[in-house]
């Protein structure tokens, strides 16, 4: 049991500890209070939030409904207006006014997205089976396999987004950490490049995207790699790398004088000095930077996909918005929550890795 609690704490779910203690009947009074504060109140607040959404959605729905009826009245006359009113009140999807979806609508949207995903994956596997024989032949003949090119499901979009964000994050880390170390070590370099960094740091994702696509378009003109993927992950990387760059440079340049004295007294060479003293000392800062980078990556990714029309959650949101179907709004809200939850999970994972890497918690 001790171990379970420790493990929970490690992955950032320490708030379950009092509940487990309570089930075991340990320190009942204290743990009841803790459970109340750490579990019951947060859960309650979620319900209050949902309730508020519901009231808001209801209100907006009524406004939208009245307006729709009024509009029908002025355009088509009283009879049509009455018909419209009946149609709306009967709950018919075809004449439902388009407003902020209620939590129930959102739930429906989520279910329909899941159903859609199931049917698409069924189609996919059917397609795979059908083309298996042909693809084998094509492969033997040195030709490209035939792949499924149908509409991606919501889950596929999530997968694509995650892939892009990881590629972008990796790029950011590979660029920013070495550059940050070099900058941190050399005061001259740091001051001479500082302005460029300060200017590039606040540049909006949109501009990076345009810039990257200008370059990628030319460079990859004759290659058949996935251009939109390349463009979006590079833009994500460039937008998000600054936090890591600045943090790494700062960490490296501000290593505790005591450690540097040790290094000097031991007369460590440049290599040992960097890898045995300076880098370990700046690991906490580097990871703080990486954590910010990952959350920035995820945030700008959605915007970039939306703009670049590259597949992923961003373009999903955009397509649903343009689509304007009855349940589009609900699906957008579902996407919003999925984006939020994934962002939260990514942050937790980084926090976990950060803990593993920092020397003081060992």
């Amino acid at each position: 049991m001790e171990r379970v609690i420790k493990a929970l704490k490690w992955i950032g779910l320490g708030f379950f500890e009092p509940l487990i203690m309570l089930i075991q009947g340990k320190e009942v009074e204290k743990n009841i209070r803790l459970v109340f504060r750490q579990i019951i109140v947060p859960v309650l607040s979620v319900f209050i939030f949902l309730g508020a959404c519901n009231i808001g959605a209801d209100y907006l729905f009524k406004v939208e409904r009245d307006r729709k009826i009024e509009k029908t009245r002025t355009v088509q006359g009283d009879a049509a207006a009455k018909q419209m009113q009946e149609c709306i009140d009967s709950g018919d999807e075809s004449c439902k006014p388009n407003s902020l979806p209620s939590p129930a609508d959102v739930k429906k949207g989520a279910i329909s997205l899941w159903e859609d995903h199931k049917s698409i994956s069924a189609k996919k596997s059917a397609f795979k089976e059908k083309t298996a024989a042909i693809n084998k032949k094509r492969k033997e003949a040195g030709q490209k396999a035939i792949v499924y090119t149908g509409r991606p499901s919501f889950v596929d979009q999530i997968y694509t987004s995650l892939k892009t964000v990881f590629a972008g994050f990796l790029l950011a880390a590979l660029l920013a950490i070495p550059a940050g170390i070099v900058l941190g070590l050399s005061e001259t370099l740091r001051t001479s490049i500082n302005w460029i960094i300060q200017i590039l740091k606040p540049v909006s994702p949109v501009v990076w995207l345009l810039l990257v696509s200008m370059v990628v378009k030319t460079v990859l003109a004759n290659s058949d790699s996935d251009k939109s993927f390349v463009i979006s992950f590079i833009s994500v990387g460039l937008c998000s790398m600054w936090a890591t760059l600045v943090n790494t440079a700062m960490g490296v340049s501000s290593v505790d004088q005591d450690y540097l004295n040790v290094s000097k007294v031991l007369r460590l060479g440049v290599f040992s000095n960097v890898f045995k003293v300076i880098l370990p000392a700046s690991i906490p800062m580097i990871f703080t930077g990486l954590r910010i980078t990952l959350s920035v990556s995820w945030m700008v990714l959605i915007a970039i996909e939306l703009l670049a029309q590259s597949p992923g959650l961003g373009s999903f949101v955009w397509e649903e918005f343009q689509n304007g179907a009855n349940d589009s709004n609900a699906k957008i809200i579902v996407a919003m929550f999925v984006i939020g939850i994934i962002g939260f999970m990514l942050d937790r994972i980084m926090m976990f890795i950060q803990k593993l890497a920092s020397f003081d918690s060992k």
Partner: protein, 286 residues
């Protein structure tokens, strides 16, 4: 023959212009090989500065420091330093910390020799059970001993100890004092011990040299301590000579300390209390 370590008219200031502090002025000191000397002084008088100068971490503004007749420039493996605040690398275990130093000084050792060497010195400070532990898991006294082991393992010719025991409680301090004396006898190293505890200086050293209060601190009259070795704390405490030496040193320190206060009043100089921001001192998530 030249002395083992010699400081000639060494002066050191920090900062410049209005914020300049003249820490040490005209410091002269000669230490013979195998000697154990103690420098006692008030806090802030420049003791750490003196150690850093000898260690080669900073350079004197004036004067020179000679080690076996050769001018010191930069740190070297011949001088082992035990820093005032331990300065262990918290991402390395006890073994790792000592090993880093040993590898640097004896790059030719193979794996088993290296391990044996590290273990010998960790054993010397009675920390064998803590070999694999990280510094954050150790008590202050244990960290201090690791720091001593690290310095000893480099097999330096002189050990520079910067207030190694002042952060410890009286009981631990007592036992570590005995240990330091034992290590000194066994390893036959020259030791320069910085301390703010006159009793500690008398208990351990051949000579106790007071550092006058700063600014412009310099070494004052030295006191030779003749108790026989190995030293025994209880016996020394009971010795009437101990009280005499101690009172003499304290009286001397009092005198130079008062002189400092008096001169300040005479000149109507306001106390120089500016915050001193040491560069590159950010504590990272510790």
């Amino acid at each position: 023959m030249a002395a083992f370590l010699e400081l000639r008219n060494v002066s050191k200031s920090y900062g410049s212009g209005d914020t300049m502090v003249d820490v040490l002025k005209n410091v002269n000191l000669t230490i013979e090989e195998g000697e154990f000397i103690a420098i006692v002084g008030f806090t802030g008088s420049g003791k750490t500065t003196l150690i850093s100068l000898i260690a080669g971490l900073i350079e004197p503004d004036e004067g020179e420091i000679l080690l076996k007749g050769k001018k010191v420039n930069g740190p070297g493996p011949d001088r082992g330093v035990v820093f005032q605040n331990y300065s262990l690398l918290p991402w390395l275990s006890v073994r790792g910390n000592v090993e880093l130093a040993v590898k640097q000084v004896f790059p030719k050792l193979n794996k088993t020799e290296l391990a044996a060497h590290v273990e010998k010195f960790v054993g010397m400070v009675n920390l064998t059970p803590a070999l694999q532990k990280n510094p954050t898991q150790l008590s202050g006294g244990m960290r201090q001993r690791v720091s001593v082991a690290r310095a000893l393992a480099m097999d330096p010719e002189i050990l520079l100890l910067d207030e190694p025991l002042s952060a410890l409680d009286a009981l631990t301090r007592g036992s570590l004092q005995i240990e330091i004396e034992r290590i000194w006898r066994e390893s036959k190293k020259t030791i320069m011990l910085i301390t703010n505890d006159v009793d500690e200086g008398i208990l351990l050293a051949d000579r106790v040299i007071p550092l006058t209060p700063g600014p412009n601190a310099t070494l004052g009259t030295e006191f030779k301590i003749g108790f026989e070795r190995p030293r025994n704390k209880i016996a020394i405490n009971a010795d009437p000579n101990f009280k005499k030496e101690r009172n003499a040193i304290l009286a001397y320190l009092d005198e130079v300390g008062e002189h400092r206060g008096a001169s300040k009043e005479e000149e109507f100089v306001l106390p120089d209390i500016q915050p001193i921001v040491k560069p590159n001192r950010f504590v990272i998530n510790r």
